[in-house]
Symmetry: C2
Subunit: 454 residues, 2 copies
């Protein structure tokens, strides 16, 4: 038995032994299960079935699609139903969605066996688009009516917690008789009050807006909601519908995940990769999404090649040009990518917007011109000695100053313009940029060469 397998078994045994405390997270357990599966299918099935419903739900969410498939096939539906019931509504919805992608019939069977409340929650959450705040909320929260006594609300919290229906509470949301959200009191305030008082009385003690809640509409873009949570340093934000009715809440740990997912999406988009397609297990789906960007890149590469084609006689009479021209294009591409990346990121973080264009352009073109001049000079000297021809040095130096400066300009203006028209500045901008830097690089270098050298 391999060391890996032995460790995994040992850790899982420790976790399953009720008399021992184990510190394993769902992530850890999923990791150990992967190791088991790698060595022995039976062992994997055996251990998965022994997990209690709450752990099974959390672990299932951490498993890749291929292993989740094994879970669905081998664990009795009853156990999966119980696991879903233990999950918070947002997580239950996600997991059921994943199950549906693997086996629709199974997903329907499981859904039918859930209780009516859980079914309603899942249907509601699934009705939202993936950019909408509603899709990220959980419906489990601690709320009370304005007329209630604080002590009664706390008694209800005790019951809900004992029943395992509520966790990670940091606010009491207070609604009126129409379930419209009126106030939110953080627990750190709540604990200071006399429990025999009514919530109305507690709120009246403070200024009118003291307990005004931070809210998001269920139809708000989730990225804007993340922005509010960050600006106000919130632990939780309430989600309401257009009439103000309290629907759910989004907690800080969900915000962590969204920030990280958004960053991944941006990094992937800059490289011409689709983050959703990459999550697929099959090569073909991920490959297809990447091929789209490669196709666009092929088209633009042909355009820059056509520019080289304009100068075929110049190259034929002086082959050193063919040797040196990729350097001009490559340095331009890199300089432009630096400006592009900084601009895209600063736009995302809200540090700059379109109206700052002049200031940002000045900075980026400034940096590119300085670096263009330095590296143009260095490469000019190198080319001069390499091919023993001073004028060749002048040509490459000149074209590098032109290409690197314009690279800075286009690397900045492309994302600013995309953003101005409401297009995600990370998507496709790198391909557009390198089209410019390649074309300008080849044209300026070969054009200057034709003019000066021949």
């Amino acid at each position: 038995m391999s060391v890996d397998l032995e460790t995994a078994k040992e850790q899982l045994d420790l976790h399953l032994d009720e008399n021992l405390e184990s510190d394993l997270t769902a992530y850890d357990i999923a990791h150990h299960l992967k190791t088991l599966k790698h060595h022995d299918d039976e062992l994997f099935n055996d251990y998965v079935k022994q997990l209690d419903p709450e752990t099974l739900g959390d672990v299932a969410m951490e498993l890749p699609e291929s292993l989740l498939k094994d879970v669905i096939e081998n664990v009795p539906s009853e156990q999966i139903v119980n696991a879903l019931a233990e999950l918070e509504s947002d997580d239950a919805t996600d997991l059921l969605q994943q199950i549906e992608e693997i086996d629709e019939d199974k997903a329907r069977e499981i859904f039918d066996r859930l209780d009516k409340d859980d079914q309603a929650d899942i249907l509601r959450l699934r009705s939202y688009d993936e950019n909408e705040a509603g899709a990220y909320m959980q419906t489990e929260l601690f709320s009370a009516n304005l007329a209630e006594r604080l002590g009664d609300a706390v008694a209800r919290l005790r019951e809900l917690k004992a029943a395992g229906e509520l966790e990670n509470i940091s606010q009491l949301f207070i609604v009126d008789n129409h379930h419209i959200l009126k106030y939110a009191i953080p627990l750190e305030e709540l604990i200071l009050f006399d429990f025999s008082k009514s919530l109305r009385a507690i709120i009246d003690e403070k200024e009118p807006d003291f307990y005004k809640p931070h809210t998001a509409l269920d139809s708000d873009n989730i990225k804007d909601v993340v922005g509010i949570v960050q600006d106000y340093d919130l632990n939780v934000i309430a989600v309401v519908d257009s009439r103000g009715v309290l629907l759910g809440r989004i907690t800080a740990d969900d915000i962590h995940d969204i920030i990280e997912e958004s960053a991944t999406e941006q990094i992937y988009n800059l490289a011409g990769v689709d983050d959703d397609a990459e999550d697929e297990e099959t090569l073909v789906k991920a490959g297809k999404a990447r091929a789209i960007w490669l196709l666009i890149n092929l088209f633009t590469a042909i355009v820059s090649s056509a520019i080289i084609g304009l100068f075929d006689e110049t190259i034929a009479s002086y082959v050193a040009l063919a040797v040196l021209m990729p350097i001009v294009a490559s340095m331009g591409g890199n300089t432009g990518t630096q400006a592009l990346t900084v601009t895209v990121r600063r736009l995302t973080l809200g540090e700059i917007e379109f109206k700052d264009a002049k200031h940002v352009l000045k900075r980026e073109v400034g940096i590119s011109m300085i670096n263009g001049t330095i590296f143009g000079f260095v490469m000019g000297v190198i080319a001069w000695f390499w091919f023993d021809k001073a004028l060749l040095g002048v040509v490459i130096a000149g074209s590098m100053v032109i290409n690197l400066s314009l690279a800075g300009f286009f690397g900045t203006i492309i994302p600013l313009t995309l953003k101005r028209f409401g297009i995600d500045p990370a998507v496709g901008s790198a391909v557009v940029l390198t089209t410019f830097t390649d074309c300008i690089g080849f044209f300026s270098f070969l054009g200057l060469a034709k003019w000066i050298l021949l």
Copy 2:
């Protein structure tokens, strides 16, 4: 007066009017102040001086270096001292650091006027390296001794909150007589207990490990701490020293910022940009950091050019090769960057590690080979018709299959290897990769051409 300026003044007036509620965040106020400054220096100074200490501190943290400089020069030191005293210890330390970078004497003067406790906090936090968890903690927290009655602890919370010394509380940290952290009780549990009980009695009611706190060592790497907070979905994590003494806490909103900063760092590193240098106001510092990567890129571009140089006679006798060769290099670079980006990100997110190399390589090389074959075929046909020569099509198709497949291989193996040796896989890997894809692209294309065509 411009519309911008008018709006900014209006919003700030509203904020300063004590009888009106204003919803402006520090970020909004900083934004409006920037607009004022842009139009009128005096107006800027005027409004900054009117901010109350708490707001001044928060706003100062949102201002760029150049405006912070104006604040330091124009706002009386007394006001800045009060603003620092209102900030949480981690923020006060950051702001003082920023002031020091602008004017060391002023920073010293302000520091000397702070009270002894604030001074001690700042000295302690400044003693940490920027990767250490200690540098990110705040020392303000809600703690109690095991022997205390819950009611007494809550009474202290009331006083500390009334004095404005504590906010954003979600746990009570319980220490022994040596200030060693023993337990942490979330407020959602605390509120359920009888306030006349001692904490000892409350803890004894549950299983031994029920209130075991999640902790980080002050010397832990902050990225590992973020990982723990994410794995366990925490709102707060305690920071202790090597003996277990409670030093401070890191809250969810700090974690948000760290996740976002880490993502920015990674995006910048992939593009050869240094995130710290970009924060500098001067062009020269940012430009210098970028120039280092451009220098490395220049060197590697010269290496690939030298490879072209090996085939100068081949190119001289058939110029179409010079026209087509950048396409092979560009498509390889893009394919490799896709594999590289996905691998770097998945390594960061902990989805893969070095021991998964075989599986990851199979996937990435698989995708690259499929796309290499498709685009090799497409480009082969295009080249055949473009230059009316079938064999040229065969050459470019063959070299693209080779280059794109190897691009997938190197795009995966480079970050995996860097990570294996404890090097950040985002730093420099893109430059190394394009060196490979350029060299292999030129060599395979020109080599095949020499062999097949001539």
